[in-house]
Symmetry: C2
Subunit: 360 residues, 2 copies
Amino acid sequence: MRTVNVALAERAYPIRIGQSLLAKPELILPYLKTPRVAIVTNEVVAPLFLIRLVEGLTDAGVAVESIILPDGEVHKDWPTLNLIFDGLLASRCERSTTLIALGGGVIGDMTGFAAATYQRGVPFIQIPTTLLSQVDSSVGGKTAINHPLGKNMIGAFYQPRLVLADIDTLQTLPDAELKAGLAEVIKYGFIRDLPFLEWLEANLDAILAKDPTALTFAVERSCINKAEVVANDETEQGERALLNLGHTFGHAIEAGLGFGAWLHGDAVAAGTVMAAELSARLGMLQSSDVDRVRRIFERAGLPVVGPRLGAERYIELMRHDKKVEAGRLRLILLKEIGQGIISDATPLADIEAAINACCA
Amino acid sequence: MRTVNVALAERAYPIRIGQSLLAKPELILPYLKTPRVAIVTNEVVAPLFLIRLVEGLTDAGVAVESIILPDGEVHKDWPTLNLIFDGLLASRCERSTTLIALGGGVIGDMTGFAAATYQRGVPFIQIPTTLLSQVDSSVGGKTAINHPLGKNMIGAFYQPRLVLADIDTLQTLPDAELKAGLAEVIKYGFIRDLPFLEWLEANLDAILAKDPTALTFAVERSCINKAEVVANDETEQGERALLNLGHTFGHAIEAGLGFGAWLHGDAVAAGTVMAAELSARLGMLQSSDVDRVRRIFERAGLPVVGPRLGAERYIELMRHDKKVEAGRLRLILLKEIGQGIISDATPLADIEAAINACCA
């Protein structure tokens, strides 16, 4: 088992990464305030992992409630969040009850937001079961639900007490979701970790074959990168924005097609290609660099072109993103491969040209 | 103008108390991140005070959006909260836009929760226009909405950057609401400020006659008491619980009759008498002390007996309160007049007897 520490002063917490962690309640017990938990999961994840987790905790003397939600990004909304509150209140969960998110990013984001707001805040543990949630959404304390007018528009910064990334859960993950998670893994290489990018280029086949050793390394290295960024900038005032490489373009794709039509990671991959293309147009990357960006995503089976919504519609949707300040688009670009930068003053014509160059 | 500082390290903020403050945008400008605000108010408050505030800010070069909600505790729910999000998103308010709550406790709690969660947190200013909100709910950062199964069950601790208590707004306040606010003012005397209680006993008539000098003093002294408690214990791990004197009983009254049937302060007054009665049964107060509690509430026109729901129903409802830990009722009692204490182990029979003695 590997441990990555997220250094956030009084809110510091460990990420445990390894195999067979779900069956080890002793990893969880030290982080409970009282021996009572409510596990939030969904109808797809529950049959795979819920019983294993519940049995271990129950045998260890923990009282367990389970709340099973419908699956999917389309349910990342208030009515579904309210099912969590209904369950907590019906079983009279208290301020000291720990909420455990068992599932992917949607479950993690919603359970985290429920933990942040149930009785103004209860203890929270993340057990991410997808690659995307293990390397990205479970680390850093961003929680949210969607609003019809925007993704993740309602939420909170709320840190878990513990993240448990059991690599074994990835063995049952559909290939499409594994690949979508890979988009975020590759992102860390592009924005701040060239040696990791080179390792990924050399070991991509092992990851795609779900080799546990390769997966453990990729998750650990991703979490180290994310934890460093988050520790430097918890509430996204500066450096943390680099993690949004490809995300502003990606959010436009997701919002333009309707949330759920594309996997988040697929949108990020196509969006990252757009950001790279734009970086080349602004003279920061060579066209061979943009090819390198395209190549690794293609090898991972990820899309490198976006849907043809029209450049104006893209920009309209991008302006509606949370990352907009004073009406100005803030984009993450690549100064070079392995070094992201924040740009507040990119000419609109260049953005449009980059989008047009990267749409099918 | 008087200023009370809430000493919360990097989240410290001032409370300004005085007359004609609504017409002084220069008090607000230093606390804006950008010259853009969204004012949230309700249909009763808007005709009285909104134009004055908007004109001042607009003249000072601030872009102002207004969101007007229906009035009343029954609307302290998700659908109404969502009207705030709809308004913010429709007008594309950004992370740097400041939310201003203009109204009573319901508006303050809902706007604060919207500020805590819109795009994971935007700047927030409170302009309380009722006595209750000026002396209690606008100070301390508690924000929330109700759930059908419990009051304030969904919320966050989120501090404003500034509280502006314009005493002039109390001149149009209905008497019933002035009295309900007085219940909380009197509470500070009982739990920690005997000299203030004695001042209130001597000056109650001036307050009821809405004398500005008396009101200003009462608001300032209340805010000083609340600010001290909150600074010592921001997230209610200990001392802050003292502020709940009368509230666990009071919440049972509000929940038992349906939220909105009784004003919150009325329920707190009757609940405080129950707490005093219970304190006497446990040997801490004399019966003359309980009479003193009853007398000041009666002089203020506040109820001193609760509705006859039955002691078992009271206790059932009290157990559903957020303040419950491990199934155990935590009550605030009076060790003596002017000194509250937290009790976790009050015998159920005594609680029932106290309730029965204080119901009509």
